[in-house]
């Protein structure tokens, strides 16, 4: 006996999906459409991509984005690994307090702490620019990375590290030869996530970039203010591809090895829920 298919629910779900993805598909389609006015389909072209990526400003901003992503990822991972190792041996209360701090960095509205950092950096005479954006990204990236690393550490049996110590390794050697190699898949997943989060962040980058640094996401925002051109679609599609590829890689690593990052991938970006 088969259950009747819930037709209404299927149709509704389908409609929601179409509405969600239609704008994205529109961007992709117009990025390869010959019509410069974005009105109708006039044939396939890669002209807009060539035009966009030959623009020196786009190139410079892409490099800025990469630089910010790389730096904030490295710093976030260092913080996350230290935090994970610390929290494993911390007392229950300290641990709860620390977890609260971690989650608050994800839950708090980005605009609020971006504004806070803006004011703080001003008071401390820290120059706006790449460094300031990196620090801003570390605020949320280190939180995501900490959660992933903690999850992996929790699944590691402490007897492995005890065995290494028993066999003659001091604390540093235990970390280097056992703990870190076993953490590596989680570290990779965390890195890929933080890279993509950093890449498509607009708010912190906008607030803290000043006149010196402009990541490509901010550039895109500026271009839209004037006019939505085919180049904007091309840049947007390229950004989307970069994020998708890193996320997919993280997903594949998660499937292949246990990292405790599964829930993170389903979590989506904080911006999406705001």
């Amino acid at each position: 006996m088969r259950l009747r298919r819930p037709r209404a629910a299927s149709v509704f779900t389908g409609l929601v999906l179409v509405c969600l993805y239609a704008p994205i598909i529109t961007v992709i389609v117009f990025s390869v459409d010959k019509d410069p006015n974005l009105i109708s389909w006039k044939g396939f072209t890669t002209h807009w991509y060539a035009q966009a990526f030959s623009d020196p400003q786009v190139r410079r901003d892409l490099l800025t984005s990469l630089e910010v992503a790389a730096l904030s990822t490295v710093i976030s991972l260092a913080i996350a690994i230290c935090a994970g190792l610390w929290s494993r041996q911390a007392g229950a209360r300290a641990r709860r307090f620390f977890d609260g701090l971690t989650y608050s960095r994800i839950v708090l509205p980005e605009v609020v702490f971006a504004l806070g950092l803006l004011v703080l950096f001003n008071k401390l005479h820290i120059a706006y620019g790449v460094g300031a954006i990196v620090l801003g990204h570390v605020v949320f990236n280190s939180a995501y990375a900490t959660i992933i690393i903690q999850a992996r550490l929790a699944s590691l049996s402490p007897s492995l590290e005890e065995a290494a110590a028993d066999l003659g390794a001091n604390r540093w050697r235990v970390f280097k030869r056992v703990t870190f190699p076993l953490l590596l898949p989680a570290v990779l997943v965390a890195a890929l996530l933080t890279i993509s989060f950093s890449f498509d962040d607009v708010i912190v980058s906008q607030f803290l970039g000043g006149d010196n640094a402009e990541p490509v996401s901010v550039l895109l925002l500026g271009m839209i203010h004037l006019h939505v051109t085919p180049e904007v679609n091309a840049i947007g599609t390229a950004l989307m591809l970069i994020t998708l590829v890193t996320f997919a890689t993280a997903g594949v690593i998660t499937l292949l090895r246990p990292t405790g990052a599964g829930q993170m991938l389903g979590m989506g970006r904080r911006a999406a829920s705001e």
Binding site: S157, S159, E162, A164, D166, L167, R173, P181, L182
Partner: protein, 385 residues
């Protein structure tokens, strides 16, 4: 095996351990408390060089904590640990001349068999050529030659256990600590590996300290065993000693003495034993734990294999009991009877006693020299169940 004699010689040279006088391990008033809970409550033991020594007891008795303190993985609250006369209490695990085989093996999943076994040698900066030969030698000893490139996850439980053993033995420790190393294996494999462990210990001559909750396993392999209870040593001796002359009811229960008759001392030890009175049996003379006092309530232990279905005579004691269960175990019959006092007794008899039927009453008796008398201990009996 010339390889092994080399191992032994090199080990002796390396540590000056073998051949040195005095115990391999000495625990002095060793104590460990977790808050209000006392896991190990001041134990004193000396373990001889080359001895196979077992710590046994029910879970929570402090045996694993004791082992982990010797390894340096748990810090003692009080007391001292000496290895070959050297105080190691304050040393971190990686500086101690002991190695551990962990309960779940704790093999490094990211390293292959060779690298797992070579782990400690690399920490000691042993030359590559020597690492290759020593790892090879060890894998041969445990029968895993040819598996060098396998990951631990590709091995069976028994093979993983042997890699863990090789990983520790390759370092030629002065003492090897084993924490329920066979606990995760099935019965057949356990028996097989018990034999192998015994053989390997004999061949390498290293002191083994073995923790298990399985008294049969401990008795089979050990030179001496100690039974722990609530963080204290209840009894220490050879397996034969402990089995035949348990010091307390707890030990008797733990080593599987199923027949305990309630009795009381009616005349003190005169050199040939106590005279005890036992309900349903009468008064008889038997040896027992020294120091029992007149009128003290005691247990008379009777081994199942000492009982036979024949009337009491000179030099024997016995009672009439009803058979409640019979089981044929090949060449032997296991028989459960109910005494008039309501107690249950088990006996194992030879196949030729075939006239016995369930539901009937018979006279059963046992030689007096097979009886062992020990003090009653209600708390102990309960804890062991």
């Amino acid at each position: 095996m010339s390889d092994l004699s080399t191992v032994r010689k090199q080990r002796a040279r390396g540590h000056g351990g073998t051949g040195a006088p005095g115990p391999a391990v000495r625990l002095v008033s060793l104590r460990r408390a977790y808050g209000d809970v006392i896991a190990v409550d001041g134990i004193d033991v000396e373990i001889a060089d080359g001895e196979f020594f077992s710590l046994i007891g029910p879970s929570g008795c402090g045996k694993t904590t004791t082992l982990r303190m010797i390894a340096g993985l748990v810090e003692p609250s009080d007391g001292r640990i000496e290895v070959h006369g050297r105080d190691v209490t304050a040393l971190r695990p990686h500086r101690r001349p002991v190695n551990t085989v962990f309960q779940q093996y704790a093999l490094f999943p990211h390293l292959n068999v060779f690298e797992n076994v070579a782990f400690g040698l690399r920490e000691r900066r042993v030359l590559a050529a020597e690492i290759t030969s020593r790892v090879g030698e060890m894998l041969e000893l445990v029968g895993l030659t040819g598996r060098e490139r396998y990951r631990p996850s590709q091995l069976s439980g028994g093979q993983q256990q042997r890699v863990a053993l090789a990983r520790s033995l390759v370092l030629r420790p002065e003492v090897l600590l084993l924490d329920e190393p066979l606990g995760a294996l099935d019965l057949k494999l356990r028996k097989e590996l018990q034999l192998q462990l015994k053989r390997i210990q004999h061949e390498v001559g290293i002191t083994f300290i073995y923790v298990t909750h399985d008294q049969e396993e401990a008795f089979f392999m050990s030179d001496r065993v100690t039974i722990m209870r609530d963080g204290r040593l209840e009894q220490l001796g050879t397996p034969r000693d402990v089995y035949q002359r348990p010091a307390t009811e707890f030990v008797a229960e733990f080593v599987g003495a199923s027949n305990r008759l309630e009795a009381s001392v009616v005349s003190a030890d005169d050199g040939s034993g106590y005279e005890v009175a036992c309900e349903g049996v009468g008064t008889f003379r038997a040896v027992g734990v020294p120091g029992l006092t007149l009128g003290q309530s005691v247990c008379a232990i009777v081994r199942p294999e000492a009982i036979s279905p024949e009337p009491t005579g000179p030099g024997r004691a016995g009672l009439t009991a009803t058979v409640t269960d019979l089981a044929y175990l090949g060449h032997q019959i296991s028989c459960v009877v109910q005494t008039p006092a309501g107690a249950q007794m088990t006996m194992s008899m030879h196949q030729h006693h075939t006239g016995i039927a369930v539901g009937s009453s018979y006279e059963f008796s046992w030689p007096l020299e097979s009886v062992w008398v020990l003090p009653r201990d209600d708390a102990g009996a309960r804890a062991a169940v």
